[in-house]
Symmetry: C2
Subunit: 310 residues, 2 copies
């Protein structure tokens, strides 16, 4: 039955893919075995991250990109990532729109993921879901995230091309985007560029990008104006992505990304196992320390060192 | 000489406090010993976090709060936290303004901290700096951060009262504040409340807060309108903080915060030591695996498990 599931995933069977993703999301026992068996078939998909503030038009742009990739003969998977928050109820509403447009298209797979409470786990689950889709043969994987939290940043950092969508009103959002997103973006889109302020934002962005240290393998981020709902500028964006893809293939960065994702998965797993194992043995010592009044406790560093060296 | 430093810190000697903070920031050898020796004298200061988007007036509000706390006879330390980013050059400019106002006041200590590159380290360093100031006798510690990144969130989560400053134009920022900040705030300030839109934001905020799950120990966050530059509403904010302080003292939450900070410090240290120790032994195995082509590698989970069980 298990070999059957793997076989069907490799054939691109959508129900089997969906089932495997659910197993990964639910952290079920067979998760490790499924991911490990699929692993040799991963490392082929091109991974694109799309992010930006709410209302910037991420869903419309994702929708148009799906169409353009499909027209060029590529299969596309979309992973919508939404860290849990009471304020983002509507963030993944875009799904429904896309579902309608691409509903009948067997070359498109769409899945939304939300945090199930586990701190830090969402970015890992997202990667594992992408690996399943990669092994299932999807050639393009689009990650769509909202906002600028650490999870979104982690997701973006594990993609090959990072696209940040802004709107003319986003002047302040650029300031908010300080947590490292700006530095990892390869393409900026000014969507709704028919509105006032588009040219001003364009100039501001160009100036900021000019002052950035070069940390992107000699790739100078491009800035593209779009009106996604009308399709304006979408060809520019599409060819911009292709250009960046060619660039990172030539510089070897694509291979480095693949290696880094591998190492990150190993390290994340090790870190979890080390912590679990350590605290299952030392839980009691911490508990006893907590029973003392604060000023009678062993100082934190000393306690850490004494527990560690036992 | 070391005992001398500790003695002078305990006497509140500003130069000695500054020296100890530099030792912590630079991760010098004596850091552990200084923090451990000071530890029994910590756990007395009340810790307040102030955050919000750039331009919201955090510095003005911090400045006025310092004055109000000083008038009520409390000594105050301010830690400005700024994760490194090329976009935040101006974020801590506020320091200079405050320095002028409170320059001659020996009961005020101000320090800015920026990331020195080490991922995740800034939040720890900030805590350790606060512990030094706590041991030096500062009764109020204000943490001022910009933005909504993970570091800022970590810093806020380690305080007793979290204040989020917004401006009437912040409607969109509320949406951006999804990474958990909204859920941990105890007080919202609508600054520059003489501008258009203040009442609308007030209503929006109240509605959102009403829909939040109760995760704050039965504390319903207050929303306060201010015009900090004129001092309007500052008394309300000041008494709002006092009210929250009384609340968490009565519910025992204050003690829980203290315990959580202690545990977090132990766990962070353990996690670092576990990782360092593990990878110093297994670095070579990972390196060898990376030399193989991607599809010939041991799947990440299996590699992790095999390295871990060795």
């Amino acid at each position: 039955m298990f070999a059957n599931l793997i076989h069907h995933i490799r054939q691109g069977d959508r129900l089997s893919v969906a089932r495997a993703i659910s197993i990964v999301e639910d952290e079920r026992d067979s998760k490790n075995e499924i991911l490990s068996t699929l692993f040799p078939f991963t490392g082929k998909a091109y991974r694109i991250g799309i992010t930006g503030p709410p209302g910037a038009g991420k869903s419309s742009i994702t929708d148009k990109l799906i169409t353009l990739f499909r027209e060029s003969g590529k299969s596309v998977a979309v992973i919508g990532v939404d860290p849990s928050s009471p304020f983002t109820g509507g963030a993944l509403l875009g799904d429904r729109i896309r579902m309608v447009t691409h509903h009948a298209d067997r070359g498109v797979f769409i899945r939304s993921m939300a945090s199930r409470g586990g701190q830090g786990g969402l970015a890992n689950t997202t990667q594992e879901t992408a690996d399943i889709l990669d092994a299932a043969g999807y050639e393009i994987i689009l990650f769509e995230t909202v906002g600028v939290g650490q999870v979104e940043l982690d997701v973006m950092q594990a993609t090959d091309t990072v696209i940040v969508i802004l709107v003319p009103e986003s002047g302040d959002d650029i300031q908010m985007m300080k947590a490292g997103l700006m530095e990892i973006a390869h393409t900026f889109v000014i969507n709704k560029a028919d509105r006032d302020g588009a040219n001003k934002l364009y100039t501001t962005l160009k100036n900021i990008l000019h002052s950035l240290p070069d940390t992107k393998d000699s790739w100078y981020p491009n800035v593209i104006k779009t009106v996604a709902t009308r399709g304006d500028g979408m060809d520019d964006l599409f060819s911009g992505i292709a250009k960046h893809r060619t660039h990172i293939m030539e510089t070897g960065r694509w291979k480095v990304n693949l290696d880094m994702r591998y190492q990150r998965q190993v390290k994340a797993r090790i870190s979890t196992m080390l912590g679990n194992s350590f605290w299952s043995h030392n839980h009691q010592s911490m508990k006893e320390e907590m029973l003392k009044p604060h000023d009678k406790r062993i100082p934190p560093y000393r306690l850490a060192e004494s527990l560690f060296s036992q």
